[in-house]
């Protein structure tokens, strides 16, 4: 937990140190490529739609990204084997993978760059929420043209803050693969307010 709090505090201090040149909200919609390992069904490669809400204050960036995940993804990610070897069937319903992130966003018009980390939640169709979906780290860049822009980002989902911390530790020592392998790319169209 301390490992997570430290970067968050640093981001907040940075945001306070820079004059609040602007405060801006944003709404977006985007696409990620669909994927499933060993897909037997060609239609499984349908893209994943995501909705994006963000708020920038100075360089502080808060965002909520909601990915509409298909049934098979939810099923795979909610099925698990417990410590006694018992298999638990997952939920075979579609859901929203919600990512609540905090990070830093730098805008040098027309270029935009951002780095975020945050926690995940999975909403299941029918009203249930599923907690065990870990945390995420996101790296993104984009272009801003007045009131609209496009962002391209890569998101990595980790099982726990320990896994994420280990990935950052590896990256700091030159091994980027645990941080970047399997990153989910997303292309977003964003409107700024």
């Amino acid at each position: 937990m301390k490992k997570l709090l430290l970067p968050l505090a640093a981001i907040l201090l940075l945001a306070l140190a820079v004059p609040a040149a602007f405060s801006e909200a944003e709404l977006g919609i985007g696409l990620s490529p669909g994927q499933i390992s060993g897909a037997p069904d060609p239609s499984n490669v349908d893209p994943i739609i995501n909705f994006h809400v963000g708020w920038t204050w100075s360089i502080l960036f808060l965002s909520w990204d909601s990915y509409a995940m298909p049934d098979y993804w939810v099923y795979t990610n909610t099925s698990y084997t417990d410590q006694w070897g018992g298999y638990h069937d997952g939920f075979n319903v579609p859901g929203f993978l919600n990512m609540f992130d905090i990070g830093v966003k730098i805008v040098l018009k027309p270029f935009v760059g951002f780095v975020e980390i945050g926690t995940n939640g999975l909403y299941l169709r029918g009203g249930e929420n599923y907690g065990r979906v870990g945390v995420n780290a996101r790296l993104g860049a984009g272009l801003k043209f007045g009131f609209w822009g496009i962002n391209f980002s890569g998101t990595q989902v980790f099982n726990s803050t320990q896994d994420m911390s280990a990935a950052f530790h590896d990256a700091a020592h030159g091994n980027w693969s645990t941080l970047t392998d399997g990153m989910v790319p997303t292309l977003d169209l964003v409107i700024y307010f």
Binding site: A25, P40, S43, N44, Y72, Y75, T81, Y87, N92, P94
Partner: protein, 161 residues
Amino acid sequence: MKMRKLLPLVLLALGALFLLTSCDAILDAIFPSNQAVVDVAIWKSDFSLDWSATYYTNHSSGRVTLYLTDVNDGSVTTAVGSWTGVDYTYVHYTFPFTKLMDHTYTLTAYYNSYSLGSQPPNTVFYDPSGAEMGTPPCSITMPYKNSGDSTGHSVNLYMYF
């Protein structure tokens, strides 16, 4: 002027509210409802070497080939997969089918065992309540709403070797 500044925030709040309150409607609009996930489970007791290879050494225990036949138009979808999960009783092979039509389907699974070679085909499958889907060869007519999933969006089907 104040109203003009407030408008984007109001729109933003409305957008967020829409997302929060219309989750199910949005998911229904995005995803088709005729989906099935077939879990082909290999029983440990009959294939103990396959199970132990998977459970203890993470080796591939064998291979499942699954044929999904559309009875209405005669088309066949072939799915080949390796194990996706293992527990104390079974090795699981999971096959999702995401765009089925309002048709009747049959399933035929073949298991090529790591230790015992090719096994006879299996045409028997069950829904989540444990009900066998008719007299073999079993069949299912989509959309199938008696799956225990109140949404009727997807159905889990189970086959056993």
